[in-house]
């Protein structure tokens, strides 16, 4: 935990710790994997998967026959459980558990000489590991003019993408060519921390240096820094013609066409209780329990398990939850390191104002959000300009869960808009 420095005149400075090179620890194939498929089918009359089905590694699975969306089985085995799961921001998932066989039997639908086209990408590669993932580039409506490849990691202490840039230069170079073909984009920019400049240069991409301090590494800040453009409130970079993809997803893309197998493994940064980090490689869907057991990490009652980094992750309430394609890190926090939030009202100290990289008037905003005035929060106090860095909560001396209020506000506002739109 980075504490407030002795002298504190301006913004908090959260530098990324120096990365120690290490090769990832392989997590053995678990006896059961769980995969999350976003959206719960409204009608289950025509199920495409059912309990007891045999699946192969890399096999495309759908929940119902006429579903357009799909997910990729990451193991060979038998489906042993299908249930519903509600995740962050009320997103509904169908959770599918598969009992694994010791040996992978690869599905050959993708293997039979697929050409790198948008169609093939949409058909097979919507579930590649990495965050932001490849799928975000596939369903765009405006053409992608610029591609930004993340050669660094969004959150503090996470080193997943940096490791990829360090070790997978050739695959990156190849993946960049594939990306250019698939998206018909010529401008490919890779952003890396200073120590990876040389390595990244070997890929042939246009490499830009990003100072490795938080929140410089967030997508909104990178777009601003690299392209000199600010993301309009409430818009995605993709809607502005800027595609963002992680180095890990690019490498996965390259491996997919190289090997004729859809990649099913994920590099994870494990952040231990003492802040030490270690890299691990796990099959997507591996329960966190297996990851922790392999690394010999004990958790106790009251500890916090976080999918993602210390600033932007989400908590996992159970060790049975799986590693997902976008899980860049798993953080384990001891219960004594958890700072509880408080319901004290805003004391107007202005710490959040100085910390906010997006100039959101948080001291006013939080008052509206506390009272559920979401539309006013958007129109008067720039709720949608927030780039979701979490620094407001991090610096708040009143320990108001500001970031939570903001995310709740965005969620509720989206609901209000979606109810109003059909009538309006």
């Amino acid at each position: 935990m980075i504490r407030r420095p002795f002298f504190s005149l301006g913004r908090p400075r959260l530098k990324f710790p120096v990365v120690q090179k290490s090769s990832p620890i392989d997590i053995p194939l678990p006896s059961k994997v769980t995969l999350f498929f976003e959206a719960v089918p409204a009608d289950t009359k025509d199920p495409a998967v059912s309990l007891g089905d045999k699946v192969k590694t890399g096999q495309k699975l759908k929940i119902t026959e006429n579903d357009e969306d799909y997910f990729i089985s990451t193991v060979s085995g038998t489906i042993c459980d299908i249930s519903e799961y509600t995740g962050y921001l009320g997103r509904d998932y169908t959770s599918i558990s598969i009992e694994t066989l010791a040996n992978d039997e690869w599905d050959d639908e993708f293997a039979t000489g697929k050409a790198p086209t948008l169609k093939v990408g949409r058909e097979f590669l919507g579930c590649l590991p990495g965050a932001p993932d490849f799928a975000s580039l596939l369903d765009f409506k405006t053409p992608v003019n610029t591609l930004i490849i993340y050669g660094l990691d969004k959150d503090l202490l996470v080193t997943t993408n940096q490791f990829i840039v360090e070790t997978e230069v050739e695959a990156l170079a190849k993946g960049i060519e594939l990306l250019k073909n698939i998206t018909h984009t010529d401008e490919v920019i890779m952003v890396v921390p200073p120590h990876l400049l040389k390595k990244a240069g070997e890929t042939g991409a246009d490499v830009r240096k990003i100072r490795p301090s938080y929140p410089n590494t967030l997508p909104g800040m990178i777009v601003k820094k690299v392209l000199g453009r600010e993301i309009s409130p409430g818009k995605n970079p993709v809607e502005m013609g800027v595609g963002i993809i992680s180095a890990e997803a690019v490498v996965a893309l390259s491996h997919a066409f190289d090997r004729g197998e859809i990649p099913v493994e994920k590099i994870l940064t494990i952040i231990k209780k003492d802040g030490a980090t270690v890299l691990a490689r796990a099959r997507i869907g591996t329960p966190l329990k297996d990851v922790l057991e392999t690394l010999n990490i004990q958790t106790a009652h009251g500890d916090r398990l976080v999918l993602g980094g210390p600033m932007t992750g989400t908590t996992a309430y159970s060790e049975d939850l799986p590693v997902l394609p976008d899980t860049d890190a798993v953080m384990i926090q001891d219960r004594k390191d958890i700072t509880p939030s408080s319901d004290t009202q805003c004391i107007n100290c202005g710490e959040c104002i100085r910390a906010c990289p997006a100039n959101v008037p948080i001291n006013m905003l939080v008052r509206l959000l506390e009272n559920g005035l979401y539309e006013e929060a958007v129109s008067e106090y720039d709720l949608l300009s927030c780039i979701e860095c979490g620094l407001c909560s991090y610096v708040c001396p009143a320990m108001i869960p500001v970031f939570q209020y903001i995310m709740l506000g965005k969620f509720e506002y989206a609901r209000i808009i979606s109810v109003e739109e059909p009538n309006g």
Binding site: I2, I338, S385
Partner: protein
């Protein structure tokens, strides 16, 4: 139960920089100590008694209001103690006990709690209390009258009333270095200029108060005072005299910077500070009150929400039409 081990779930971020309201309050009290100790050493046990009663009664009022309003007990955050301490620092050393208790009542109950507690007060609670005390019991807060029995080895006429009623020629009785070292009559903790500056610089460097407000307040006073001084040097004292006397320094570092009643954006902080500085000298030089700090800051407190409308453009705003 399948799962006796429960994990903590909460929203990001999972780190906190370990700042807190109580830590901030304790630092403010720590920073006030140099000036306070100097005051107590000058005025002796009566001054200590004023401080002790003020701090304790402020905390008791806070506790009573917590109970009365059925809200969580908030004396732990130290804010009530800070209010009591700062009020004591502004009072003469011989203030009667009932004035102090009335003062902390106004500060905590009227100035802060009826608005909803910490962070909700539109005015600085300390100054609200002091303003009401000044208006209610003028004689008891007049430093010339109350400190008449003290002879501390320097000119015991309150410097601001000296220049107001006797003209700037009377200012020659005070040396600037003497004023800086606390050789002047005044509130218990508001005379030792050097101590207040040390405390203020400490708070600024630690990030507990904003330099924008303190500096612009002092600059506002300096510029206005020098303009008056140029226009009529016999009638109006020089800028350094204004900065080192009365409540100027405690106002700059401990009163104007109160979080809830001051703006948070850069330009508004400068305007707020400068405005309070200008008003202070205007009240001192052409108003009826001897010292203008109290009413100048209260006046600027009112403008604070309005000033805070001047703020930088949020990210991505106005891009669509650019």
């Amino acid at each position: 139960m399948d799962n006796p081990k429960l994990l903590t779930s909460s929203h990001a971020p999972f780190w906190h920089n370990s700042s807190s309201i109580s830590r901030q309050s304790y630092h403010i009290m720590l920073a006030a100590l140099p000036a306070l100790i100097m005051g107590i050493s000058q005025y002796g046990i009566p001054a200590l008694a004023v401080v002790a009663l003020s701090v304790s009664s402020a905390m008791i009022w806070e506790l009573l209001m917590n109970k009365l309003m059925n809200r969580p007990v908030s004396i732990g955050d130290g804010n009530a103690a800070v209010i009591g301490l700062l009020l004591a620092m502004l009072l003469p050393a011989v203030t009667p006990w009932w004035v102090i208790v009335a003062g902390t009542f106004v500060a905590i109950v009227v100035g802060k709690q009826i608005f909803g507690g910490i962070g909700c007060n539109p005015f600085n609670p300390v100054l609200t209390a002091l303003a009401i005390l000044i208006l209610s019991w003028k004689g008891l807060l007049d430093f010339n009258a109350t400190l008449v029995d003290y002879d501390l080895g320097f000119l015991m006429i309150y410097p601001l009333s000296a220049i107001k009623y006797l003209g700037t020629s009377s200012a020659t009785g005070y040396s600037l270095s003497g004023l800086l070292m606390g050789q002047q009559a005044g509130g218990i903790g508001s005379c030792f200029g050097l101590g207040l500056i040390i405390g203020g610089v400490y708070l600024i460097l630690r990030g507990h108060i904003r330099w924008e407000i303190s500096i612009s307040f002092l600059v506002g006073i300096y510029i206005t005072a020098i303009l008056f001084n140029i226009s009529d040097a016999d009638k109006y004292a020089g800028p350094m005299f204004h900065i080192l006397t009365g409540y100027t320094l405690i106002g700059a570092f401990f009163l104007a910077t109160e979080d809830s009643s001051s703006p948070v954006n850069f330009i508004p902080m400068l305007l707020y500070g400068a405005g309070a500085g200008v008003l202070t000298v205007l009240i001192r030089n052409i108003g009826v009150f001897v010292d203008g700090v109290v009413f100048a800051i209260l006046m600027m407190n009112v403008t604070s929400p309005l000033l805070d409308k001047i703020r930088p453009k949020a990210m991505g705003k106005g891009i669509e039409h650019a």
